[in-house]
Structure formats: structure tokens, C-alpha cells
Amino acid sequence: MSRRPYVREMSKTTWYMRNGRYRVYVLRELSSFLVAFYVFLIIYALSVLAAGSAVQWNSFLASQQGVGMIVFHGLALLYFLFYQTFPWFKLAPKAMPIQVGENKVADSKIIGAHYLVWIVVTAVIFWLAGVI
């Protein structure tokens, strides 16, 4: 009797279609393109601001206030919340478990602390921006 193991290769191009879990993962990873987009947007905004021209700055602000851009920013925010912020907060206790004495701190407390910090930081940014 001879051994002849059969190897099933995973497709390098369509592997993420195998199940829902992989698809969610890929959507999470794809959100990095949005991160890159916002990095470039902020760098561009800063460069316009640094140039010191009120006309250019106002035209940049106007370009962000069109209906298309507002819809885009809204969709980007939703995408971010559901495929970046919520999943990563949920995973935080896995990467950073805290043990006090003999017992582990409950996941819900670690996740809750993340949300709390997030809300505080957001409020500070809104306050600095003069929104609240």
C-alpha cells in the first residue's frame, strides 16, 4: 500500500469567498484604504492652510461641503464604525487582558473603558473645534 496524500490548495485570489468570517475580515482590512484617504485629505488640508491663502482654504472647505462629499463622509463613517471601530474594540481584551490578583478583569469592562476613552477624546476634539 502506497501513500499518496491529496493536497487541496487554497486559492490565492478567491480564498476570502470561502465563508462569511473571511469576508468580514477582508472588509475590515479594506477599511485601511479609507484610513489612507483621510491621511492624504488631512495632509492636503494642512498644506492648503500652510500656504496661507484664504481663497484656497475657503475653496477647499467648499469642496468638502458638497452633497456628494457629505454623503461620502457619512458612508465612510458608518463603514468605519462597523468594520473598524466596533470590531477592534471588541477584540481589545484579547490582545490586552488584565489580571487583578487571581482573576481576569471582565472583557466588558475593558471594552467599556475603550468606549469611554473614545467618547471623552471625541468630546475634547469637538470642544477644540468649537462644535460643543
Binding site: R3, M10, Y16, R21, Y22, L91
Partner: protein, 247 residues
């Protein structure tokens, strides 16, 4: 107790006859309290004695009966017929070569488990006539990781291992972390070369599938992320000339 007719589509592969695996369907009268392993045993005992598969304890301890059931890597002794539709597809664990029918070749992960030195490494002389002391708090740091039964469902779920067979993978990395966290162990620096290597923890992109399918709730994905944090801390400690926490 009622019976239910279950249609089992089982992947078959005979290395002496078949060029590639194919499916064979068996109709099995199942009791509602049966697990899939019972249904497969029924096939073996009553319909087709040539079917090859692994099992031993039937109670989630031995880790032998891991298979893909409707595309999900599971212990078949833990997967109840009542939770499944009338048609069930059973395949050998993904990401492993098929030896025959539902039996896979596990040589690669066995070698990887060996590679991470999954035992207590001591640099100094063992204490004479006394045991190594460990408090409950020290045990709780890694107890969850000792629950692994090497069923390899995590490897079947891991796309990184599927795409790159050099990746050490979830169970072996979790086991390495289990010993790194053990206060009696002094082998962390020995394991670091393998764990921090290209095919170690950094090959993991935190899909998290390993932890979701783990029948013993070991959570290898968490162990790997903790090792990444550890690795980064050790890296900076070395850079800054601060001695490590364990030699």
C-alpha cells in the same frame, strides 16, 4: 425518541484508486440526540466498512474527530444532528493533505508543535526534593491555553495557514504562549527566535477564525496578539538595554 433521515455527503479519497476526492452520499436514520460522529459510525458499521476516519473518546477530550461539517471545522463528537439541516456535507479538515477519506496528514503541525518547545525549560538546576511552586494567580494566567486538545480545527479555519504552510499557526503558537506565561519556565528567549520570525506571530493578521471555531475555547488568536505585544516590548527593552522579564 424520534429518528430523522439524514443525507450525509461524505468526501471519499482512496489513494490507490482515485485521482481526486469525490463525494459519496449515505442515507442515515439518526436519533435526535446523535452527534455527527454517531452518524458516521453508523455508516461504518452498517453501510460502508471501507470509510476511513479518526475518532477515539467521543467526549471532546482526544481531539481526533475534527472534520469539516457543512464547511465548518468542528469536533464531530460535539456537533449534534438536531442542530443541522437534513443534508450534511462532511469533509476532511481543510488546509491539510488528505491521507484517505476523512483522514488528514498531520505531520506538519506535529513538527511545528515540537518546534516551539512545548515543555518547561529550565536554565538553572531544578530544586532538590521540592516541587516548583505556583500560585493560583500564576496558574490563571495561562490555564485557558492548557485546554487545547490538538484537534487542529484552528488550522483548518486559518486562511493564513491555508495560504502559507510555513506559518507556525494557531495551536502551536498558543502552546508556546502557554509556556512563556508559566512562572516555572525559563525558555521564553529560546522560543523567541521562532515566534518572532517571519513565519511566527507576525504572519497572523488576526482574522480570529481559529478562536471562533475552537471547541475548547482556548482562544489562540488572543494568545498570538498577546505575543505580538510581548515581542514588541522585548524588542524595545533590548534596544534600550533593559533586561527581559524572563531569561
Amino acid at each position: 425518541m424520534g429518528t430523522r433521515q439524514l443525507e450525509l455527503e461524505v468526501m471519499r479519497y482512496d489513494p490507490e484508486k482515485d485521482e481526486a476526492p469525490h463525494f459519496q452520499t449515505y442515507s442515515v436514520p439518526c436519533n435526535e440526540d446523535w452527534v455527527i460522529l454517531d452518524a458516521i459510525n453508523y455508516v461504518k458499521d452498517n453501510i460502508d466498512t471501507t470509510l476511513a476516519y479518526r475518532w477515539s473518546c467521543h467526549m471532546m477530550v482526544c481531539g481526533s474527530c475534527g472534520m469539516m461539517v457543512n464547511g465548518e471545522p468542528v469536533l464531530t463528537c460535539k456537533t449534534f444532528v438536531r442542530d443541522l439541516p437534513d443534508k450534511v456535507r462532511i469533509e476532511p479538515l481543510e488546509n491539510f493533505p488528505i491521507e484517505r477519506d476523512l483522514v488528514v496528514v498531520l505531520d506538519d503541525v506535529m513538527q511545528k508543535l515540537h518546534q516551539v518547545q512545548p515543555y518547561i525549560v529550565r536554565k538553572d538546576e531544578p530544586p532538590e526534593d521540592v516541587e516548583y511552586k505556583q500560585t493560583r494567580g500564576q496558574l490563571m494566567k495561562f490555564k485557558q491555553l492548557t485546554m487545547c486538545i490538538n484537534c487542529m480545527c484552528c488550522y483548518a479555519a486559518c486562511p493564513q495557514y491555508g495560504l502559507n504552510k510555513d506559518f507556525i499557526g494557531p495551536a502551536a503558537l498558543a502552546l508556546a504562549h502557554r509556556y512563556n506565561l508559566d512562572n516555572r519556565d525559563q525558555g521564553k528567549s529560546d522560543r523567541l527566535d521562532i515566534l518572532a520570525d517571519h513565519d511566527g506571530v507576525w504572519e497572523c493578521s488576526f482574522v480570529g477564525a481559529c478562536s471562533e471555531v475552537c471547541p475548547k475555547h482556548v482562544d489562540p488568536a488572543a494568545a498570538i496578539q498577546q505575543m505580538k505585544v510581548d515581542g514588541a516590548v522585548e524588542f524595545w527593552k533590548q534596544r534600550l538595554g533593559i533586561p527581559g522579564d524572563k531569561s
